[in-house]
């Protein structure tokens, strides 16, 4: 072999592929290995797994089936497959992590790591009561635990499980299977207190007792009693009672295995758990944690699906950190809805199962004959399912979970959703199978089936169901259904903007903000692929506009704008445009009305009073737009931004100035706010209203932010809208003075702009916000994220840099050329046909034409 020419004089560390060390080979640790192998070429790195148990990863979720006959093979990993993939396995318990030197010890080996992952899971909590270490006491976590229980059961007649939660009941089932007289003891006054309410616990208890298992709730165990030989003989309770048993299984909750992390100096939660951020990184460089040992956003997930999710995210970020992939990922929490079969009893709990939402209502059905209990938690208006419980019969779990996740308004009385099928008849038809796309007549079931068959984005859904290919108005619903269905299937939901940018809108917003890009070309070159498209271009255009407030028709921004923004007017079905000057708060002078009327007459425009308290002038040809605006601006008007994803109108009522009920001046406030937020570009349009008293004539509660006057000050409501899925805005704060109100709205809007998805109205954004309204209140009113100064500065910048776009367009020498109809001729558009109706002109309908044009389907539009 030829020698390298320039041998360095000092020996370098041998070039080796980076080493990733995974502590723990449980369900999640194993998934992480698989994800690493799947996400990159596995010769580019070296994986070492440290495995404390005597066998490689197995399916802990189905642990109890180990007692089935024949016992199934629960193995998830095999030595052969690890070897084949070049994964090195070291059996033993890891210790001695040195995060500065990047080493870890196991047995008496010291191993260097480039990335380290804690996947150490959790251990069963054993309450500190006398006798708990005696022979005959067990926990229920590993296959070894089960082997020991099986051996002990050979010489035992009765067993008791301490803990009536999910795992405790599973353990009780196992003891019964082993032929023991079985009891369950629970400290709380009911079974499964974490998931069920009292009535649900009662139903479950009856069913379990009917199986011959003794249930003792509301019992505090004070001691494990021992016989003369020091072996378990039973339990003694705080209330003086006793229970005989030869064998005790503790199942009183789990605790994260964070001892090694603590010794290593990693940050832990107050009540344990290794603190991780959204990228699954711990407080030490290149050290990650996943699964039940990890504490994310104050939460430990005792379920495997969120752990799998973390494994996927951590793998992506580890590879990214090692320079082996360019796509980082984030973990943003998980839904805790669950459906299980315990001791043959089906139990389901989803959404807000315990009814903690303020003002919520419930409908329940407790059926002692069938042994079932069903409860629905409904929104205050009774129109939406927020969550629920099902005990004994979970046949409708999926439908109800869908209803809760999608927030679809109910079309049937809620009680019909939980009554059992009529004898001999079919179940009462429950339309969770709602019509999604009215253009193509596609229902939810068809969409879900397509997702089940592998469709993973809107494009795929469009091509296999046809939904969304008509007017496009249903695309947001389609998107929502896709997200909730994927979440239900336990899959990570890709929120990538489009095929050109592997980022969510929020991620892209942050990249653009932090790196300070000011032009599309730079953003595309640094983070995108191809030439972009009609999705990412306007999204980036909107982000740049939100951040820098520059004139949107500058040459570097112009190619990003949808036609509405490109011509600062709304395109109509025949290709002409509408013109809508701003009328702040809906207040307009007689002279203003006359001026608008004159413009309309001069240019032959159709006039209509809009639903937003202003006047729409329709049918303008593109090449007339500059002249129309020159006249409007001369009369004191400015752009109303009816074309942009930006602030539309702030509706007002006449308020205390005129109305005999008004308690504050709603009109003045609406005008001030409209002038403050005019021109603010946002992920979707923004609407607002201000009412002078609780009679709410301005319909403030159907707005993205609405303000209602009270004697004590202004009440602020957020997250409402009309449109496709109407939502009432929720009360964020009461009795505010104008300065506080304004600052609160500033921050609300800026936080929304930074974190919402593309085309996500505030209501959908708020619903998706983990922690909901309380969290929002924390962020913008108590500064829980330390963001407020930043948000305030961003809004001040917007207010300071506002300019009327139409005035800017008229001052721009490029404008006349841009608005010409033809690049090579001065003629006007040849293809337009008009009909006179009720004294005005409107576009001709197809049947009115000889050449056979038919009308285009009109509805919202997905832009």
């Amino acid at each position: 072999m030829p020698q390298p020419q320039n041998q360095p004089s000092t020996p370098l560390a041998p070039a080796h592929p980076p080493r990733i060390v995974v502590i723990g080979n449980g369900m999640v640790g194993h998934r992480l290995v698989e994800q690493l192998q799947a996400q990159a070429n596995d010769t580019a790195f070296q994986i070492t797994v440290i495995c404390e148990e005597t066998r490689l990863a197995y399916d802990r979720v189905h642990l109890s089936s180990h007692f089935d006959d024949p016992a199934p093979d629960l193995a998830l990993a095999t030595a052969a497959r690890y070897e084949e993939g070049g994964v090195q396995v070291i059996y033993g318990k890891a210790h001695g992590v040195d995060t500065a030197q990047k080493t870890i010890q196991v047995n008496d080996q010291t191993i260097h790591y480039d990335a380290l992952v804690f996947a150490t899971g959790s251990f069963p909590f054993v309450p500190p009561i006398p006798g708990r270490d005696a022979p005959g006491c067990f926990v229920y976590r590993t296959l070894d635990d089960l082997e020991q229980i099986r051996d002990a059961a050979r010489n035992a007649k009765s067993g008791v499980v301490i803990g009536g939660g999910l795992l405790g009941l599973e353990a009780a089932g196992a003891l019964q299977k082993l032929g023991l007289t079985t009891h369950v003891v629970e400290f709380a006054p009911q079974l499964m207190p974490a998931q069920l309410d009292a009535e649900g616990g009662q139903t479950l208890r009856r069913t379990i007792e009917a199986m011959g298992i003794g249930v003792h709730v509301g019992k505090s165990t004070s001691e494990v009693t021992l016989d003369a030989a020091g072996h378990v003989s039973g339990l003694a309770f705080a209330d003086g009672g006793t229970l005989e048993a030869d064998l005790v299984v503790f199942s009183a909750g789990i605790r994260p295995r964070d001892d090694l992390a603590r010794e290593s100096g990693l940050a832990l939660g107050e009540r344990g758990g290794i603190v991780i951020d959204d990228t699954c990184r711990t407080s030490a460089p290149d050290v990650y944690a996943v699964g039940e040992c990890a504490l994310h956003d104050g939460r430990i997930y005792g379920l495997v699906a969120p752990g799998y999710n973390m494994a996927k995210v951590a793998a992506a970020n580890i590879l990214h950190g090692l320079g082996l992939s360019d796509a980082p990922a984030t973990f943003t929490g998980a839904d805790l809805s669950t459906k299980l079969k315990l001791l043959g009893v089906e139990v389901g709990s989803f959404g807000d199962a315990k009814g903690v939402t303020e003002g919520c209502r419930t409908v329940s059905l407790s059926d002692n004959v069938r042994g079932t209990y069903s409860k629905l938690v409904l929104s205050a208006d009774g129109l939406r399912v927020l969550g629920g419980l099902l005990v004994g019969d979970t046949a409708r779990y999926n439908d109800l979970l869908d209803l809760a996740l999608s927030g679809t308004p109910l079309t049937v009385p809620p009680e019909t959703l939980i009554v059992p099928p009529l004898p001999g008849g079919a179940a009462i038809p429950v339309s969770t199978n709602t019509l999604i796309c009215s253009c193509e007549n596609v229902r939810a079931d068809a969409v879900c089936a397509a997702i089940g068959d592998g469709a993973r984005d809107i494009k795929a859904l469009k091509s296999c169901t046809g939904a969304g290919t008509g007017c496009g108005g249903c695309v947001p619903s389609l998107h929502g259904l896709l997200q909730s269905e994927l979440r239900r299937l336990g899959e990570t939901v890709s929120n990538h903007l489009c095929e050109h940018f592997p980022y969510s809108r929020q991620e892209l917003f942050d990249l653009i903000r932090v790196r300070g890009y000011r032009a599309w070309d730079d953003v595309l070159a640094a983070h995108g692929t191809g030439l972009g498209c009609e999705v990412c271009k306007p999204a980036v255009g909107s982000i740049l506009a939100s951040l820098h407030g520059e004139y949107v028709l500058k040459p570097q921004h112009a190619p990003l704008q949808d036609t509405n923004d490109a011509f600062l007017a709304n395109i109509q079905k025949n290709g002409t445009y509408s013109v809508m000057p701003r009328v702040p708060g809906g207040e307009i002078t007689a002279d203003g009305l006359i001026a608008i009327g004159e413009v309309a007459r001069n240019f032959g425009l159709y006039c209509k009073i809009t639903g937003g308290q202003r006047i729409d002038l329709l049918g303008a040809q593109r090449d007339d737009l500059p002249a129309i605006w020159a006249e409007l601006i001369a009369a004191g008007f400015e752009s109303g931004h009816a074309y942009g994803k930006s602030l539309r109108t702030i509706k007002s009522c006449v308020g205390s100035t005129w109305c005999r009920y008004g308690v504050q001046d709603s009109t003045t406030l609406a005008i001030r706010l409209e002038l403050r937020y005019r021109g603010l570009r946002s992920p979707h349009k923004l609407k607002s209203g201000v009412s002078g008293c609780t009679r709410e004539c301005a319909e403030a509660r159907s707005k993205d932010f609405g303000i209602i006057a009270t004697e004590a000050g202004w009440n602020l409501y957020v997250g409402g809208n009309g449109g496709v899925t109407p939502k009432h805005a929720l009360l964020l704060a009461e009795g505010l003075d104008e300065a506080t109100l304004t600052r609160t709205i500033d921050r609300y809007l800026m936080f929304y702009i930074r974190t919402a998805d593309r085309l996500q109205r505030t209501s959908a954004w708020l619903e998706g916000l983990e922690g909901g309204l309380d969290y929002l209140r924390g962020v913008i009113m108590d500064d829980s994220l330390g963001l407020c100064a930043d948000l305030d500065a961003a809004m001040d910048q917007h207010v300071g840099s506002y300019e009327d776009e139409w005035a800017a367009a008229l001052a721009d020498p490029a404008t006349p050329a841009r608005f010409r109809t033809f690049v090579n001729a001065d003629t006007r558009d040849t293809g337009l046909q008009w009909v006179e109706e009720r004294g005005q002109l409107r576009p001709a309908f197809a049947h009115e034409l000889t050449q056979g044009l038919t009308p285009l389907p009109m509805a919202g539009g997905d832009d």
């Binding site: 009609e534 306007p538 949808d562 036609t563 109809t821 033809f822 040849t830």
Partner: protein, 124 residues
């Protein structure tokens, strides 16, 4: 069902005709040219010019030149496209083929740049 609303007759075009200066079309954007009574959308995308019919066959409106341009992946190749501003139907800029509807197309015309001028050619 989607109706093909592109019902205009196709009169023969004159041979190569100068449309405008390349500088008149901002990169990434399109303009509309009137050629022999026919509206033709001309785009300047990634250094190339493309000419297609201006009428959106899905809606019957003359709007294609006002669409957003971009690219899409086909057989792992980036191809140029334009999305109609009305209902966002997308078309391949080179072939005129609608991306989600096999039976819908835009007419296409040869286009070239010579000495900084954009020319459109005759079809037949």
């Amino acid at each position: 069902m989607t109706l093909n609303l592109n019902t205009l007759p196709n009169p023969p075009l004159p041979s190569w005709q100068r449309i405008c200066a390349l500088a008149d079309i901002l990169p990434g954007l399109g303009v509309c040219a009137l050629v022999g009574g026919r509206q033709i959308a001309v785009f300047h995308v990634a250094g190339q010019v493309y000419a297609v019919g201006n009428r959106d066959p899905f809606t019957g409106a003359d709007v294609i030149s006002r669409g957003l341009t971009g690219s899409y992946l086909k057989d792992s190749q980036e191809r140029p496209k334009v999305a109609s501003p009305l209902l966002k139907h997308a078309f391949d800029l080179e072939t005129g083929q609608a991306l989600d509807h096999a039976d819908m197309t835009l007419p296409t015309y040869p286009a070239r740049v010579e000495g900084g001028e954009v020319w459109i050619g005759l079809v037949d």
